[in-house]
């Protein structure tokens, strides 16, 4: 992507109010998660501590969002849970995007046999509903945040394989690829230097939206008890634990639920804004 193009996309994004709201929200959430140690009112409440004097306190100063059943500040735990969610999203995408894009590009560029085999493999993965696949992998593993990331990764790469396969198939026919082939460039060179750069904007946009969806799926797993285990703060398991105490202690479940909604919506808004900006630029 040339600098001039980036600037044009930025200008287009700035004219998109929804996208800008998303950008601001994402920035705020990411910064809050990074500096959770500094801004959280009770940083030690992220770990295995309990304050038996302040158990199950409704929202009021100094606990703005109330406390959980062992007396820990909900706001602190939500901030640290955001950190875990973002870490998961980054790790999952760092694993799945290279694998998925690699397979997709190969399948798109190489002959029909390879492409058929690789695409049927992605079919197998895509024909198990995503959450079901991740859950069943977790069924065989010890539940933890790390294994949750592995399970989500296993269901995520086929989407990138699909996307880059279609992009590569389209680019394959372009003049510049044919030119590179004519001068005898090797397959790695054509894939990585010629085709990949032209696929990056689409992949990047999808990644932005996917941050939200990875967080959503990871929260769903931990809601079912298949993700991070206590005392690690985790949005999904906070909702699940809190639901036991409805409606008397509504804050235990409502605030983590809203927190999930906020972060996923923020990345969606930003992703949609980026996509529209890219389309407009093109």
């Amino acid at each position: 992507m040339t600098p001039g193009r980036g600037a044009r996309v930025w200008r287009a994004l700035r004219r998109n109010p929804a996208g800008m709201i998303g950008l601001v929200l994402v920035a705020v959430i990411v910064l809050a998660a990074i500096f959770a140690d500094v801004i959280a009112p009770f940083p030690d409440h992220a770990g295995a501590v309990g304050d038996f004097a302040a158990m199950n306190a409704p929202p009021a100063a100094p606990y703005l969002l109330g406390t959980d059943t062992i007396g820990r500040d909900m706001l602190t735990r939500i901030l640290f849970a955001y950190r875990l969610s973002l870490e998961m999203a980054v790790v999952v995408l760092a694993i799945t995007v290279p694998i998925g894009v690699g397979i997709g590009l190969l399948a798109g560029y190489l002959g029909p046999v390879t492409s058929y085999a690789l695409m049927r493999l992605t079919d197998v993965f895509l024909s198990i509903p995503p959450l079901v696949l991740a859950m069943s992998i977790m069924g065989f593993l010890e539940p933890s945040a790390l294994h949750g990331m592995m399970a989500v990764s296993a269901m995520w790469w086929p989407w990138y394989a699909r996307l880059s396969y279609n992009l590569a198939r389209a680019e394959k026919q372009e003049g510049y690829v044919l030119a590179a082939e004519t001068v005898g460039a090797g397959v790695p060179h054509i894939l990585l230097r010629e085709i990949l750069p032209n696929c990056i904007p689409a992949i990047f946009t999808k990644m932005t939206i996917d941050v939200g969806f990875v967080i959503l799926i990871a929260a769903s797993l931990s809601f079912l008890g298949l993700g991070a285990q206590a005392p690690t703060p985790d949005l999904g398991s906070m909702v699940a634990d809190g639901a036991k105490y409805m409606p008397d202690s509504w804050w235990l479940t409502l605030f983590p639920a809203l927190a999930i909604l906020l972060i996923v919506a923020a990345f969606n808004l930003l992703g949609d804004g980026l996509r529209e900006a890219l389309d407009a630029e093109r």
Binding site: A48, Q229, A243
Partner: protein, 534 residues
Amino acid sequence: MTASHSRLFGVLLGAALAFSATAHAETIFRMDDSAPGEADPDKGIDYVGSVLAFNIYDALLIPGQHGAPVQPHIATAWKIDGDTYTFTLRPDVKFHSGNMLTADDVVFSFKRMMALGKGNSSLFAGRVAEVTAPDARTVVFKLSGTYAPFLGALVRLPILDAKTVMAHKAAGSDPQMGDYGQAYLSAHDAGTGAYSIVSHVPESETNLVKFDGYFLGVAKSAPDKVRLRYGLQASTVRELMASGQQDMTSQWLPPEVMRVLAARKDVHLLNDYGSGIFFLHMNTQKPPLDDVNCRLALTYAFDYATALKMVKITDTVFTGFPANGPISHGAFGYDPSLPNYARDMTKAKDYLAKCKYTSPDQRAIDIAWITEVPSEERVALLMKADFDPLGFKTTIKGMPWTLYTQQVTNPASTPALSEVYIDAATPDPDSLLYNMYSSKVAATWESASHLKDDQVDALLEQGRTESDTAKRQDIYRKLVARLRDVAPAIFAYEENQVFAGLNTFQLPSLSDDNARFSAEEYGLQFRLIEMAAH
């Protein structure tokens, strides 16, 4: 759907309900328990499985009352001649099918339990040489050696209708017995109990109906129908109770929710206790808790009073009582002369000084709590607050039950400390302590301390083989004293399982100490429920 539509629905529903209330005068008792409910009495071992087995089936003996460990039931009398037990059966016991119960049914039921090898079969495994039925009203058990807890164990041998089971057998591994009616009994029954199964879905609910031909008769005030629902959320149970749609809760509600219910005027509390202990198992095979002094230091550093306060429901009702060892007050082998455990930091420091692990880094311990029981997390945090200042380095980890049961099969992967509630399967302390502390038994979740102690082993064997009751009592007191010295666990408190019930009914066997039975789980007899007059 709009608000006005749903209001219309509500009106229609209300009218329908009013109609049904006048049309039927029969009483129904509704409660919930953990999922799944196991209908096959030879498989269920948890609370709900036991409750179903005890209400749908009968055994030769049942847990005793007023201090007796067991009392006659289907067997009216028995004779013990060395290792041979001869039982005389009542002539008037009728199965739900209409068949009369005979000695052959007892023999069949024993064989079935042992062939399936699940549930409570471990109480008898390797102990019984032969079971015979010399005539229709006599059953003879020939044991393979002296086994004093045998009578207590019989409480857990449900008698099945052999004819009904065999009429419904499906293909299975045994050429003659097929699947032993397993498919059939997973949703139907073949018992003699005061209630019989109308429908059963393990994940969601069981519907029972009163059996008119029950051999002891059933009081008119007992509910005509019983509906047990499984796996309900705590919040749901709270709401169903508040709106009068459920009569009794399970004992699995978190203290917060139980407290909300206990504060209501239309609710009374019931409880079940007698053999359950909240164990904080200490892994005796892994540093630093392989040193008994480190274990004793923790034993005296633990804040027993605060632990009980955490499970407080009302000012007088707690889901626990102070403990003085692994045997509950009132149970066989309990020694009232021993003091209850209490925090004593002087003693804790003395023991710690004798421990061979000297620095906090050497004294790193991991504490595991079971994620299905949220209140255990609090106890883990309490331990951390108690032990870290003393000079330990604790890490806390929540763990799902299945994972825990796998990890504890091997001392190396067993956590240093883990929290487990365990109660005895029978009125005999052997059923609690043998599996837990005998070094002969393979490691399970009951024996997460992996204790290897010759004195404990010897006393456990003596307890099994001594037939004189007074001498046995003495053996178990010695055993408890020894266990207090070797400290394989912190005996945090005696378990008190508390239920909330609407005032629509009373159940003395779970509320009046004079009406209680000698084993937990038996007290929840639907036939003893007194529904309020209609």
